[in-house]
């Protein structure tokens, strides 16, 4: 016989109800997760599963490469989009740097892309874009969904319904995980999911909305919490560590993990840059480039960092010898990326009227004097784009 407290508990708990939008989203996600109907022969499934297992063993890049294939086992959607335009398409709005397999620019809610397989985006309205390792898949954010599309044939590898507008996404270097940020009424929520779109998990309820940066080994990523604290999240055990604020850093404006090791660069808008060793608790290195502007960080190699801000790119050497060099740019730096290996760079430059062009340029050389940026060619003319421009070079 339940007593009065138990009856009240039953009443109170009975009245909890999910929202209609949440129910709709969850329904779509659950049905999309259904496995495909069983067929008589299991041989193909076994073969695909074996291929996935081999891919897992031999590295995440391979897993990313099969990202379109995994849902065939797990039951993702199998829709196709029209194949990306190839030779018959109009001239691309963005050019591929020499030797690159993919180059992308995002800004102002639009995205541009060119891949060596012939895929192009011409300023498409997307709230987020991430390119998988090897440029096998694109992760496109729009509306309340993230859609992974194969660059080769437009095959939709998976669709992930999310609780708001996806505003940033980053594919782990090994391809096995994706970190993404969703803007909701309660804040910018950060999630982590597998590279096949499964098992999304909330990492933080409030972040600054910036793109997370992955460590080279894909075992951790860093992000900025809503209060401005830089956090490093381990995807292995779910632990997280808050980095103490050093070097007189204000609110972080950009963060970037080095291409190898555990160095994490953090820059604020006041020209302060901190390089923190997140793996070995080593000393933080502090720099002050004196350039009070929105910074963009890009690593050339594990010991060399570029900071683009205002009308200059500062190159910093992180090591015992140290050193720095300044290169003037013919426009305000809105985006910055280094080629794999650091031999060349691409810079998004905004002119006085707000017009943005992306150029391929020579990596700044050390010298005592300030040298202008040596531009090889224009990669894209993005028109008027507000805010920072995200660049990806593979």
């Amino acid at each position: 016989m339940p007593d009065e407290l138990e009856e009240r508990l039953e009443r109170a708990l009975a009245e909890l109800e999910p929202g209609a939008d949440v129910t709709e989203r969850a329904h779509a996600a659950a049905v999309a997760a259904l496995p495909p109907p069983r067929t008589r022969s299991r041989k193909p499934l076994v073969l695909v599963a074996a291929a996935c297992a081999v891919a897992f063993v031999f590295g995440g890049v391979t897993l990313a490469a099969t990202g379109g294939g995994l849902p065939l086992v797990g039951g993702g959607s199998h829709h196709r989009r029209p194949p990306p335009p190839a030779d018959t398409a109009p001239p691309p709005a963005i050019r591929l740097p020499r030797g690159a397999i993919a180059f992308a620019a995002t800004g102002g809610g639009r995205a541009w892309l060119a891949t060596s397989s012939g895929a192009h985006l011409h300023g498409r309205s997307l709230s987020a874009l991430a390119v998988s390792p090897g440029a096998i898949n694109l992760l496109e954010g729009s509306g309340r969904a993230l859609v992974a599309v194969a660059t080769a044939d437009g095959h939709v590898a998976f669709t992930r319904h999310v609780p708001g507008e996806p505003i940033a996404a980053a594919w782990a270097p090994a391809g096995i995980r994706i970190a993404y940020v969703v803007r909701t009424g309660e804040g910018n929520r950060l999630y982590d999911m597998y590279g096949n779109g499964r098992h999304a998990f909330l990492v933080a309820a409030r972040t600054d909305g910036g793109t997370p940066t992955w460590r080279w080994d894909s075992l951790a990523f860093a992000y900025v919490r809503g209060d401005g604290t830089v956090m490093v999240h381990s995807v292995i055990d779910g632990t997280v560590s808050a980095l103490p604020r050093r070097c007189d850093l204000g609110r972080p404006a950009d963060i970037a993990f080095a291409p190898f090791g555990g160095l994490l660069a953090i820059a604020d808008r006041a020209g302060h840059v901190a390089v923190v060793d997140t793996l070995h608790h080593g000393r933080s290195r502090c720099f002050d480039d004196g350039n009070a502007a929105m910074p963009k960080l890009a690593w050339l190699r594990p010991g060399q960092l570029m900071v683009g801000a205002g009308h200059a790119i500062v190159r910093l050497v992180i090591g015992l010898a140290g050193g720095a060099d300044v290169t003037d740019t013919p426009g305000q730096v809105a985006g910055l990326v280094a080629a794999p290996g650091g031999r060349r760079i691409a810079v998004a430059l905004r002119d006085g009227s707000g017009h943005v062009r992306v150029v391929e340029a020579r990596t700044p050389r050390f010298s005592e004097a300030s040298f202008p940026l040596r531009v090889y060619r224009v990669l894209a003319d993005l028109g008027e784009v507000a805010g920072p421009v995200g660049l990806t070079w593979q």
Binding site: L5, L16, G19, H27, L34, R38, L202, H233
Partner: protein, 177 residues
């Protein structure tokens, strides 16, 4: 469709019937969400956990033993995911997230709100059994089966949870007096 049992719906969903899957979802979504919300104490977390649990459950329908009831299987996933997330959140944002738990109940009527806040303040282990017992209506034996616990442990956790809630009530009334 509504007269079909869960086992039959699962079988049809496995064969690709979206109608059956939709019916299964409609039947169990409110309960799964309720468990998630009551265990996590937060609406945003409940949204994610319940959706994630359903995705996992549907993706694994092929491995589901149709002879067993679907609801407890799903709720086991929800409870485990909720507890995982709570542990993770505690590491991630410390007391901040726990503070929010109480704030989440402010949309409730006065008595409900205070009672639900007291439930939210219970330890996760006790909160889970309270929610499964009084929110979902499972018997202690079913809860024991779902959580892989001895029935005696479920009874003791329930008794201690109710004792905590009663003490909380007494203190609240004494405070008013």
């Amino acid at each position: 469709m509504r007269t079909l049992g869960d086992g039959e719906l699962v079988a049809r969903a496995r064969q690709g019937s979206r109608e059956a899957a939709a019916e299964l979802f409609a039947r169990h979504w409110p309960g799964a969400w309720k468990v998630a919300r009551a265990v996590t104490g937060r609406r945003d977390m409940a949204d994610d956990v319940a959706q994630d649990a359903f995705e996992r459950a549907f993706a694994a329908l092929g491995r589901f033993d149709r002879r067993r009831p679907f609801g407890p299987w799903l709720h086991r996933i929800v409870v485990n995911r909720s507890l995982d997330l709570l542990r993770s959140e505690r590491r991630l944002i410390g007391a901040d997230g726990l503070d929010r738990m109480e704030g989440e109940w402010r949309d409730r009527a006065g008595e409900d709100r205070e009672l639900l806040a007291a439930v939210a303040a219970l330890s996760p282990q006790r909160r889970v059994v309270v929610v499964l017992r009084y929110g979902i209506g499972y018997s202690p034996a079913a809860i024991a089966d779902l959580l892989d616990l001895p029935v005696g442990t479920v009874h003791s956790r329930l008794a201690r949870a109710l004792e905590d809630l009663r003490r909380n009530e007494r203190e609240r009334h004494a405070g008013r007096a």
